[in-house]
């Protein structure tokens, strides 16, 4: 039985009393070692949801549980140690003057002894493939590299969950690929839950589960494959489905019997070349 690591119980949130409700009675959970992608267009409440997960914001109504702890002022630092977060802007989360110093920042905050720190820095930089850049200053790194350092900084603290709050939104396609590859890699090597917040549907294909947010409500919850089967509805809330899925939908409309909803080019190819075989 999978154990839930993070749970929202009927969470509602608004920034000010007179401002619109950003999250409206949302209940979700994230299991241990699970990768959950949260998508939605701007203003759907997805980023607010991320900030509620590690106590950067507190719910107006309902409760947030992290690893059995109810989020409150007393345990907020313990929760932030368990839930690491990577933000959107690569520059505005780089605190140290060099890569090494930046990874050290989180460790210093948690009072990790120096010897242990050195070990962890080397280890986590290796995990994101940035070990050769240890002494580089941030302005000598690309956006993707900076985000990888941000992931390393989070990993060094050894959290049970990592949130990527639109961490790829400001990167070029190459940077995006780097980050998704890194996250996938990390997931295979460590026991860690991942929550990726994004508005790019191409990024959800690797996730175990997808939560689609719309106007402060959970609009859909299921596997990526299930999600892409609902073509028209997705477009109605302003999200565009990936080309492969679109193609599969078109084929179906033409009467071709594509059974499985393909997630990537390989799967679509497999579907196509086995179309007429009756094995």
């Amino acid at each position: 039985m999978e154990q839930s690591f993070l749970e929202f119980q009927n969470v509602s949130f608004q920034y000010r009393e007179d401002s619109p409700v950003v999250l409206d009675d949302v209940s979700i959970q994230v299991n241990q070692n699970e990768w959950v992608a949260v998508i939605g267009h701007n203003g759907s409440g997805k980023s607010t949801m991320a900030k509620l997960m590690n106590g950067l914001l507190f719910p107006n109504e309902g409760h947030v549980y992290v690893d059995g702890l109810k989020l409150s002022d007393e345990n907020i630092w313990e929760i932030r140690r368990k839930v690491g977060m990577v933000f959107q802007n690569p520059d505005n989360q780089f605190v140290g003057t060099t890569v090494k110093d930046d990874v050290a920042f989180g460790l210093e905050n948690h009072g990790i002894p120096r010897e242990e720190m050195i070990k962890r820095i080397a280890h986590s930089l290796k995990a994101v493939g940035m070990e050769e850049y240890e002494d580089h200053e941030p302005h000598r790194l690309s956006g993707g590299q900076k985000q990888r350092v941000a992931i390393a900084s989070v990993l060094a603290v050894a959290p049970s969950m990592i949130i990527l709050d639109e961490a790829t939104a400001m990167l070029d396609p190459k940077g995006r690929k780097e980050i998704m590859h890194t996250v996938n890699q990390v997931r295979q090597e460590r026991d860690v839950s991942v929550v990726t917040i994004t508005h790019d549907l191409n990024e959800v294909t690797l996730a175990d589960r997808v939560i689609v947010m719309n106007k402060g409500n959970v609009w859909f919850e299921g596997t990526p494959r299930e999600l892409f089967e609902q073509k028209g509805d997705l477009q109605s809330i302003g999200l565009d489905i990936p080309l492969v899925s679109k193609f599969a939908h078109e084929l179906k409309e033409l009467g071709l019997n594509v059974n499985k909803q393909p997630l990537n080019h390989e799967e679509l190819m497999d579907e196509l070349w086995t179309l007429h075989s009756t094995m």
């Binding site: 690491g84 520059d91 505005n92 605190v95 140290g96 003057t97 009072g111 990790i112 200053e137």
Partner: protein, 265 residues
């Protein structure tokens, strides 16, 4: 923006001076600056000059870098020298220029004061030439540490300095970007009367400030998310340690100070 952009005037190197603890360097410079004002004989000036020149020689920093550091003060040195020549009227008249009598005392005074200036600038620029800004920040934090007792925010000050250092290149890149964007909209930064050019800076500064505040806000949130709760209970990755070389130089410098006081006139 090229990748070799260096903050400050630090010249990387591998000399003993580069490897010294920044606290030792700051301490030596602090006392050097005081002792320079006590020197008043050829021997005492000689001892200080020897120490300063030896330090410069050991760093193996090309002289042009040092000359660059001295550039803005050359004028001041020469100006004080001439002022002394004209104003001081002690000793014998050596010669006259354009009706001015130049006294021997004036010449000695002029040389002494100029030399004092020169040594001051030389030794202080040596600190910034051989120490990274971040190492200087660490040293300041460590030296000011006792002030924590009287609630002086030492850690916060050091963090502020290091974050400023980290964001200087970022904001410089941003300035360049904004100035290009505004130039493409027709703002002219380069020509016209001073008043017009000053006015042209406004559309550059406003977006820069707005974005700097936005950055600050996001950075604060990122720091909080990474568990920053102030200086209490923090450990440090960068460690300062006095080593043999530091003690050796400190002892040598003590001898220099003693020599200066013994040879005073």
């Amino acid at each position: 923006m090229n990748s070799s952009m260096v903050i400050g005037q630090y010249v990387p190197g591998d000399s003993p001076v580069h490897h010294m603890d920044p606290r030792a360097k700051i301490t030596i410079i602090f006392f050097f600056v005081i002792v320079v004002f006590f020197a008043n004989s050829v021997a005492s000036y000689g001892a200080l000059a020897l120490f300063a020149l030896l330090s410069v020689g050991v760093t193996k920093i090309p002289p042009r870098f040092i000359a660059k550091g001295l550039k803005p003060v050359w004028f001041l040195i020469i100006f004080t020298f001439i002022l002394h020549l004209v104003v001081t009227k002690e000793g014998n008249v050596l010669f006259s220029v354009l009706g001015f009598d130049v006294y021997s005392g004036a010449l000695i005074q002029g040389v002494a004061i100029s030399l004092r200036f020169f040594l001051l600038i030389l030794i202080t620029s040596l600190l910034t030439l051989t120490t990274t800004p971040i190492a200087i920040t660490d040293a300041i934090e460590s030296i000011l540490h006792p002030l924590k007792r009287i609630k002086f925010p030492v850690h916060e000050l050091a963090l502020m300095m290091s974050i400023s250092l980290r964001f200087i290149p970022t904001l410089m890149q941003e300035t360049e970007k904004i100035s290009k964007a505004q130039a493409s909209r027709g703002v002219d930064f380069r020509t016209g009367p001073i008043k017009e050019r000053l006015k042209a800076i406004v559309p550059l500064l406003v977006p820069l400030f707005v974005s700097a505040f936005k950055r600050a806000e996001e950075l604060a949130m990122a720091m909080e998310a990474r568990g920053y709760q102030g200086g209490e209970g923090r450990t440090k990755l960068r460690e300062l340690a006095l080593r043999k070389i530091d003690y050796m130089v400190l002892v040598l410098f003590t001898f220099v100070i003693i020599a200066v006081f013994l040879t005073r006139a």
